[in-house]
């Protein structure tokens, strides 16, 4: 978001999505963890207040299987239902209508995929789904490619957060196109959140230094050898990147510039 940083009267930096304020700028996924306990521990270590969840069929033959809501309290954390696995606008809209009924809230993450190998978004279907969802009163955070033109379309339509990918979902390749991410940040007035592709803490810091409002990640934490430790690393990286952005980095120079005074040399 290319506006003056959100510093409240108390001098505190906060993050606002769809009218709600958050302290943490890190959003984490809940997939791929060994078990719910590990997931809950990583969540605490990450400091995240928003977490993405998927919507899937219940196991009708074994209704007593543990459920995510038994381990992570939806009253304490903001559950952000996603449409992962949807390849058409219709499937995505249908999924989120169910999510709204299951959860009772309007804030959702829209992603409509276009290709199984790259999990790249299908932007035509994404635009169509976003239009329908906004019409039905959803607050739409939208996963998109890093094309500033598409990002602008989605923002003008009324999406409450623009979430370009850094690299393919689950790849851990880091920010592949900082120029485009920066362009999107500069032109966008709603929060910009890098969604997908972060691999390690420095990637998250780079996203925040580019001026992104937040970072969304799943695999980077869940598939780390020690997810809880990586969750804490990501928390610190997002905070460090945000502070560096607010501090304003020094100008890059072509040659050396001594740090000690030249006057008084013996």
């Amino acid at each position: 978001m290319n506006v003056q940083p959100d510093i409240s009267e108390q001098g505190q930096d906060y993050f606002e999505i769809a009218g709600k304020r958050y302290q943490s700028r890190l959003i984490i996924g809940t997939g791929k963890y060994k078990d719910f306990e590990q997931n809950a521990a990583a969540l605490v270590a990450s400091g995240a207040e928003i977490l993405t969840v998927a919507v899937r069929r219940v196991n009708v033959t074994d209704p007593n299987q543990p459920m995510l809501v038994d381990f992570i309290d939806p009253k304490k954390y903001t559950y952000l239902p996603n449409t992962a696995g949807c390849f058409t606008a219709d499937d995505a809209v249908r999924t989120l209508r169910l999510a709204r009924e299951a959860g009772g809230w309007e804030l959702v993450k829209l992603e409509v995929l276009g290709d199984k190998k790259t999990l790249y978004p299908n932007m035509l279907e994404t635009l169509s789904a976003a239009r329908k969802l906004l019409h039905e009163g959803f607050q739409v955070m939208v996963y998109c490619n890093d094309d500033p033109i598409m990002a602008k379309e989605l923002e003008d339509m009324g999406c409450c957060a623009i979430m370009p990918l850094a690299a393919p979902i689950g790849s851990g390749l880091g920010i592949q196109n900082p120029v485009n991410i920066r362009l999107i940040v500069e032109q966008t007035e709603v929060p910009v959140i890098v969604d997908a592709g972060v691999g390690t803490a420095s990637d998250a810091a780079i996203a925040m230094e580019l001026g992104c409002d937040g970072v969304l990640m799943n695999t980077a934490i869940a598939e780390a050898k020690d997810p809880e430790k990586m969750a804490r690393a990501m928390k610190l990286a997002v905070e460090a990147g945000r502070l560096a952005y607010l501090a304003g980095r020094m100008a890059k120079k072509r040659y050396a510039d001594p740090s000690s005074p030249l006057a008084g040399l013996i």
Binding site: V58, A99, A102
Partner: protein
Amino acid sequence: MEVTINGERHGIDGPVSVHGLLRQLGLDARKIAVEHNLEIVPRSTYRDIAVKDGDRLEIVHFVGGG
């Protein structure tokens, strides 16, 4: 009667409401959402919506995902 739940045929005791069906299945209505013949069933209407022979239902919940 027979209904399709999450893509599979199930024999259930009917006539029954959505509320009654969830009870038969042993599911906690607070943790799920139901789609009945492609229409979302608002939780407040579970007792009013009748499930009939041949109906198609989707029953979903939140699971881990990114």
